[in-house]
């Protein structure tokens, strides 16, 4: 009965979405306040109904109701509660339901917090959000219904995929979707602006916080997914340029570009048309990613052709929204007046450069991901596009961007002084060179590209701090004055610095682990030792164990340095009985920012076991950098100017603080 209630709530949510999709837009055309107001009510109602529907599916999973096909296929009565819970979205149907839930969540947020939006703009935004919600609700109901019942309820479920039985599944998909789907709000704002044929700085002021919020979540989701793959897959890789990863990375790149172009639009009223196009493209990439992951087209073109129902459905949604949005753009973009003049060398110019590189990078990853599919479909020729291609093209594109990152904030709006900015970055460049040389001596040489990469990272960190330093006037004024100046700076200045520092930190991690990682593949018997990264690893022996739904074999290792024991680590192989599937649980020990990564391999006949040991220097920098980026996003988001509806800052401050014009 409860299950049917959830099913019913989903259908009702579709109905309220339909109302929300049609009525507000008619209201906006006729300037009918009552009709427009329906959008607000319907958005809240849709979200509540979706939440109810999702809650019911969660209830079915948590109570192991195997009469529901989705629960039977993806759950087991013996798995820990957290996996029953996260198993709700650890499958196609539940995952799509989460997608729509988050979509309607964002619509409800617009409905609740959008009171100070122009009435027609709000109505149109909510209507566009509802078009998306209607399409995907229909998709779920027609092709991927999670509430389908089984006539004879089986006694036991088929278990959640063992690789997904990890805390990562509880966090990664919701974060990823908050980012991915969050860009829908930017999309809806862009479409609404095109419908109205009007766009101004206030529009950008509303769009920026949504972009920032979505971007921050997407950064968290991708980063978290990368770390999850790193420790779960058992061979120590952290980014594979896999189509599924690319599907989330392309919207991230486009979203990063959007973040920067919206800045220009808000501050200088320039790049309006481009920003609207970028908002459309960013969410289009999210839709495309959803298509790639959910249609099965990636596994093989043939698998897609044999059961195309789902794929074709999403493809239709894709064509409808991307095609429709771009056509609308083509017809209406001319109505949006361009404004805000600037010289090529200026803050705006730097942000345009950022957009040029980031969108080219997004397009490159997109083309690389789709090229094998397209080529096979058109000519039948089979080729592969893998990590070597992406590393080379993406790396080359990022290089000039990373060199330019510290320059951006140091250039003035409208007309900047490149030479002056370069002089002010002198210390940062010097710092980068010093760090590079230190690494050179510490490593007794090393690949020149690696040294350059680390120097570049250090330069970006120092360069990002340069702006704060210069603005504080430290060295010219007393510490107290400098402190007051710094604390008087807008939060977004700190956000920018943090995010750019994060980029440098991530780069250092990537370069260090790529260039200086060591790997040892050895056959070990109890008592034997192997060296890695200055530590000695002793294999103590194997032990068999049993979990609630798996059996495992664990190896115990003692780690010592210079003769004294410093740590121990277990590394295991598990076998999940319900699915007859093995997994590795790598043993990982952290030393500062570096890690020792131990994986168990085949058992040998003579009682030994194959052990793979990696020393991963500075690897945590990769994810630490993304934490900086997220912190930057959060700090910027808390900036007063971005809080829509925040009253203007009180005029009289305790002490007026002089600060350069933005």
């Amino acid at each position: 009965m409860i299950i049917e209630l959830g099913h019913y709530a989903l259908v009702l949510a579709l109905a309220t979405s339909l109302l929300q999709a049609v009525l507000p837009i008619i209201g906006a055309l006729r300037n009918d306040h009552a009709l427009m107001e329906i959008g607000t009510v319907a958005a809240k109602a849709t979200f509540l109904l979706m939440a109810l529907s999702f809650g019911v599916l969660t209830y079915a999973h948590v109570t192991s109701d195997f009469s529901v096909q989705n629960v039977w296929e993806n759950s087991h009565s013996q798995i820990p509660l957290i996996y029953k819970f996260s198993g709700v979205w650890g499958n196609h149907e539940g995952s799509m339901l989460l997608w729509v839930l988050i979509l309607t969540f964002f619509s409800a947020l617009v409905a609740v917090f959008g009171n100070n939006l122009p009435e027609t703009l709000k109505a149109n935004v909510l209507a566009v959000q509802a078009w998306i919600a209607v399409s995907f609700s229909l998709f779920i109901l027609l092709t991927s219904n999670p509430f389908n019942r089984l006539l004879d309820a089986p006694g036991e479920g088929r278990d959640l995929n063992p690789v997904l039985q990890d805390i990562g599944l509880a966090i990664h998909p919701p974060l990823l979707y908050l980012g991915y789907v969050g860009f829908s709000v930017c999309f809806s704002f862009a479409i609404a602006a095109l419908i109205e044929g009007r766009i101004d700085a206030a529009w950008a002021r509303w769009v920026r916080p949504w972009t920032l919020a979505a971007w921050t979540c997407l950064t968290a989701g991708i980063s978290m997914g990368s770390y999850w793959a790193y420790y779960e897959l058992g061979w120590g890789g952290w980014w594979f340029w896999d189509p599924v990863e690319n599907a989330s990375f392309i919207p991230w790149l486009a979203g990063t570009a959007l973040l920067h172009s919206a800045l220009v639009m808000e501050k200088r009223e320039a790049l309006k048309i481009w920003t609207v196009l970028l908002a459309i493209m960013t969410f289009s990439m999210s839709l495309l990613g959803t298509f790639l992951v959910r249609s099965g087209v990636l596994t093989s073109v043939h698998a897609f052709a044999t059961d195309p129902t789902r794929g074709v459905f999403i493809l239709m949604i894709l064509i409808l929204f991307i095609g429709g949005a771009l056509s609308l753009f083509a017809f209406r973009a001319a109505h949006l007046k361009a404004g805000g003049l600037f010289a090529p060398i200026s803050r705006e110019g730097a942000l345009v450069f950022n957009n040029l590189i980031l969108t080219t990078a997004a397009a490159t990853v997109l083309i690389g991901t789709l090229y094998p599919l397209a080529l096979e479909a058109v000519t039948g020729a089979k080729i592969s596009v893998g990590p070597p291609f992406f590393n080379m093209t993406f790396g080359l594109l990022m290089l000039p961007l990373m060199l330019a990152v510290p320059f951006g904030p140091l250039l003035a709006w409208k007309r900047g002084d490149l030479l002056g900015a370069g002089q002010r970055l002198f210390a940062a460049v010097a710092f980068g060179l010093v760090v590079g040389s230190v690494i050179y001596y510490a490593q007794n040489g090393g690949p020149i590209m690696a040294l350059f990469g680390i120097a570049l990272g250090a330069y970006m960190i120092a360069g990002s701090l340069t702006e704060l330093f210069l603005r504080s006037g430290l060295g010219k004024v007393t510490g107290a004055v400098a402190w007051r100046r710094v604390s008087g700076l807008p939060r977004s200045v700190f956000g920018t610095a943090l995010a750019h520092i994060g980029l440098g930190v991530t780069l250092i991690g990537i370069v260090a682990v790529t260039a200086f990682e060591t790997e040892h593949i050895v056959e070990m018997k109890p008592g034997m030792t192997t060296d890695a990264g200055g530590y000695t690893l002793r294999f103590d022996g194997l032990r068999n164990g049993k979990g609630p739904n798996y059996s495992e074999e664990s190896g115990h290792f003692t780690i010592s340095q210079a003769g004294s024991e410093v740590a121990e680590v277990w590394s295991s192989k598990r076998f999940y009985t319900a699915r007859q599937m093995p997994t590795t649980e790598a043993g990982i020990r952290t030393f500062g920012l570096s890690q020792l990564y131990v994986s168990l391999g085949d058992d040998m006949k003579d009682g030994g076991v194959v052990v793979r040991v990696w020393w991963k220097p500075m690897i945590l920098c990769i994810w630490l950098g993304t934490v900086f980026m997220m912190a930057g996003g959060a700090v910027s988001l808390s900036d007063r100017r971005l809080r829509v509806g925040a009253p203007a800052r009180a005029k009289k401050q305790k002490k007026p603080v002089l600060e350069p014009a933005q």
């Binding site: 080729i383 893998g386 599937m581």
Partner: protein
Amino acid sequence: MIRRLLVIAFLMLSAWPAFAVNPDEVLADPALETRARGLSAQLRCMVCQNQSIDDSNAELAKDLRLLVRERITNGDSDEAVIGYVVSRYGEFVLLNPRFETKTLLLWGAPVVLLLAGAVAMLVAARRRTGKVTGTALSADEQARLDAVLKD
């Protein structure tokens, strides 16, 4: 991500997860082994989802790894090894596609996009600066200006 985990999990169905490179495969000469690893990272495991033979634990990947090491030990250059593997398995094994007619768009796209974007940027910038400095006054405007200045 989940999808990949699933696929990888599926591929591991056979037995306990084995490792990609096993100790018995490693060549005695470290220089040759480094070359072998480098080449392996560029060759696709044909039965896997987006994995190189260096990462994969499939039987076929192991055969290919051994093949690569055999050719290297026989004194083949890197190009010769790659050429040999491609001649046997087709271009599908190359994770880094060759630059040729059918990959023209793939390799050309980043360059073309970057150039097109840069040109568009410059054109837009020129148009803007054109507006800033303004064009010569029309005869009518000049006449009005003259009138104003005379006063």
